[in-house]
Point group: D2
Chain length 286, copies 4
């Protein structure tokens, strides 16, 4: 039986790992602050002392951390992933990073004889809990095929998009569209409220029309109540905008709407809303 490693017990990682454990798998987990592992250990996971320990013990290790810098740290740091990776000890990075980070990771793991797959997800807290994430995978095709059973447990869909880096690109673009769409909703809602219209009625009418979508339904209540418990923290959304912006610079594709939405998220981050749900961007729009 495959032993799975899991690095990063944040909102997403802990929910994903829990699904692997519940499905009867051997799972070894690690988190920067060890107390983050406690709930998983209670469920039956074992706990590793370092990324190196997890990677060298498990057959395949998933990583789910916040940004490229965090990935770099768990890989290159002392007792890091690179020290444990090798033939039979592969890595799947589910973090949302830029394509250059993934390309580099792939190359460095290949040197060590380990296979690499990037597999960022769409879907936030609830789909992670429900096992209905969508995995965007790219890198080693054989590793993708091998871990299909695990991806099936944690998600409802997984697709293979080619060489390492392509999944990161796809993920960033999807998030940028999502974030820009929410920014437009926030502006529309603010204008409706200034117009003496009922915000709830706006949301109902949107839901009866051509842009009816789960995010508007899901975030609508947060916007109306102005309470924003983190499902997908704003600081992560803003990071994805930043990486999308870099991609657009590299490829020479102008993205004015996305760029302006990014500025609004940056404003929210500057005002201290980074740990709230990204829908908190409404607070700097209204």
């Amino acid at each position: 039986m495959t032993t799975y490693g899991f690095l990063g017990m944040g909102i997403m990682g802990s929910a994903m790992a829990a699904n692997l454990v519940r499905a009867g798998n051997d799972v070894i987990v690690w988190n920067r602050t060890p107390e983050g592992c406690a709930p998983l250990v209670e469920m039956g996971a074992s706990m590793g002392v370092s990324p190196r320990d997890v990677v060298s013990t498990a057959d395949v290790t998933f990583a789910m951390v916040s940004d490229p810098a965090a990935v770099e740290e768990i890989c290159r740091g002392p007792e890091g992933v690179f020290e444990g990776a090798g033939p039979g000890h592969d890595l799947i990075d589910c973090s949302t990073v830029d394509d250059l980070t993934s390309e580099l990771l792939a190359a460095e793991l290949a040197q060590r004889g380990a296979r690499f797959l990037e597999a960022p997800v769409t879907g936030t807290k609830q789909p992670a809990i429900d096992g209905t994430l969508v995995f965007l995978a790219a890198g080693e095709r054989s590793l993708y095929d091998d871990v299909a059973p695990a991806l099936d447990i944690m998600g409802k869909l997984h697709v293979f998009l080619g060489r390492a880096g392509m999944a990161s690109r796809m993920k960033l673009i999807i998030n940028a569209i999502m974030g820009s769409t929410l920014a437009a909703l926030c502006e529309g809602l603010a204008l409706a409220q200034k117009s003496e219209l009922d915000g709830a009625q706006l949301l109902e009418l949107l839901d009866a029309g051509a842009v009816s979508n789960p995010m508007f339904r899901g975030k609508g209540a947060a916007l109306l109540s102005q309470e924003y418990p983190a499902s997908f923290p704003l600081k992560h959304m803003q990071k994805d905008f930043r990486l999308t912006s870099e991609l657009s610079e590299r490829l020479g594709q102008p993205i004015p709407s996305i760029a302006v939405a990014n500025e609004t998220y940056k404003r929210a981050l500057a005002q201290g809303y980074g740990d709230d749900d990204f829908s908190v961007v409404f607070e700097v729009v209204r």
Copy 2:
């Protein structure tokens, strides 16, 4: 039995009037260019010689024209609506206009003893044909109640939003959100294509995620094929952005994302794409 008038036989008006005729109503139609009335007359509608003729003959007359200037023209022009309106000869304006235009119309018709309802719709060509529009109504409540049967024939939902002008505001805000969302999709798709990603795959993944919505599905094929048969012409969408922008100025609500999307639609309009579907905005984004 109620006789309905219908002014404006464009993409939307002709489809809506056809549904009234099909349902067995007496309908008298008018269009700026008379040949636009032919299909309806073939179906059994009668044809009026002027807005005044239609309004003074029918009990309730619907208008569906392109913008505030067109509404002004059919109302104030010689042989116009104002000359035919009066007690028992009411007007329902389904055009998307600004709230000030609606307020003024309501006041002028009230002076003539006619009731007024603004009832802009969400939904474009196909829902108009299918009778699944959503009517946003505001103005005279009694008129709203009286025409409920006609609204039920042409739409799947109708809501009453208060005094004249409120429905226009709601409609403009919904369209601005819709147009901004499409602009963000276009930018994301352009970036995906520059990234060597498959556009169709981007659309599939969006459809599996939190922003899955009918518009992305409906316009996706147009964007991939770069053919844009008009369902909702770009010039009308840009007009709605303009009116939303004016509303935002009047109410003092900043809307940076919507403002930048507007500039992109203005660019498309300047490049001669006004009569194509608004999804043609992709051509100035890519």
Copy 3:
């Protein structure tokens, strides 16, 4: 000798009228709140009881009020300009308005036999005091020629730009460039301060380079001290952005940079900074 009327004793109007008085002219002034006339009366001006009174007494009357609505009001209101204007009783509007307002004014005054010139100015408080304004004039050429001596007293330069409306267009465009440039400076200064750079040093270096300009020098101190005594109130600058935006809609010319700067000024206005100098926009940028 020509008798000059002057309507509107705000920051600009009072300084301009004072220069006319100082130069030995007969000047009759009026202000919405009569106490605004006191300083001029002390200097030797006489005071009119209404716009009508001033216009019908003076040969040529200057108006300098805040926006198109204020111009409309002093012209059309009871005891307004239109009641006093006629042959030999001409009007020069120095307010910054849109071109449509000027065109309409010109037409209505022509009907009354009065000549009309629009003559918005560039330059704010200090140039008004110093008599170094620049007048952008358009409308009746003969009136322009007749009042050249008065324009020479109040300004350092005057140009004639053609039919009524053309000067308004020019003025709006100049202000939009000015306001956008200041918004860019504010963003750069905010970024410099976040970068631990010295703001005063940034201003010095800018002044040694290709964009060295009087506005950066003049507003620099305000930005560094974060005190913004009104020279040109932000609400007026935002109004000019609004009118520029409408012009751009009408002419079909996209202006993304100007549009985004406008949103920043709208944010400042929404936060209550309307009566401060427009450089107060720094407060919502930093």
Copy 4:
């Protein structure tokens, strides 16, 4: 007597090195394509075979290349700067790069015992020829003091801004303000031309007002004639916007006006205008 090295014989570098030669200094030059050195050699400079050769021969070597990647290449490449640098063989980088690149360079040269100064300039082709550049210097203070005579020959002003990286930050911010200001001018000019106003008259009136500046005068003719001989190539301006954008991300400072101007420059770059003067941005604005 000090021997100066000079790496990079582009528009700027060749003009700067020429001034050093003309002032009687021993100068050894190098360019990626050797024919770029010919004019300098004719004037009396000697020619090095590689960056290493130049740096190890000269006491102090100036570098003036296009972007961070080019700096990296001449430093780290085979026969690069790092191989020639050491005690008594110092480097002054006049290229416009990001602060991180400068910090890294400073650290790596310090390890080799060489001193480092970053000294990006404001001013483009003509000031380089005239010796009226402004040097923004940061890094080793002693090196700054030592090369003051050379900076005095090539420029009209030099300032010291602190630790390595600070001058890069200042330079990027200045260029972002400059580029944003020009974008606003282009939009205003395009709107003026659509308004049937005379573009030359707009430029004259701007020059009589608060934003009168050398850049508007200098670029005005280019805009009116729509010919854009490169003084400062658009690709370099866009690169500076990109680096400013990264700085703003890192420091958490929103810069919406600058971000939107960047998108306009990106559009111009995508349309193939990279080698024209940055004022060519007018072509995608009008």
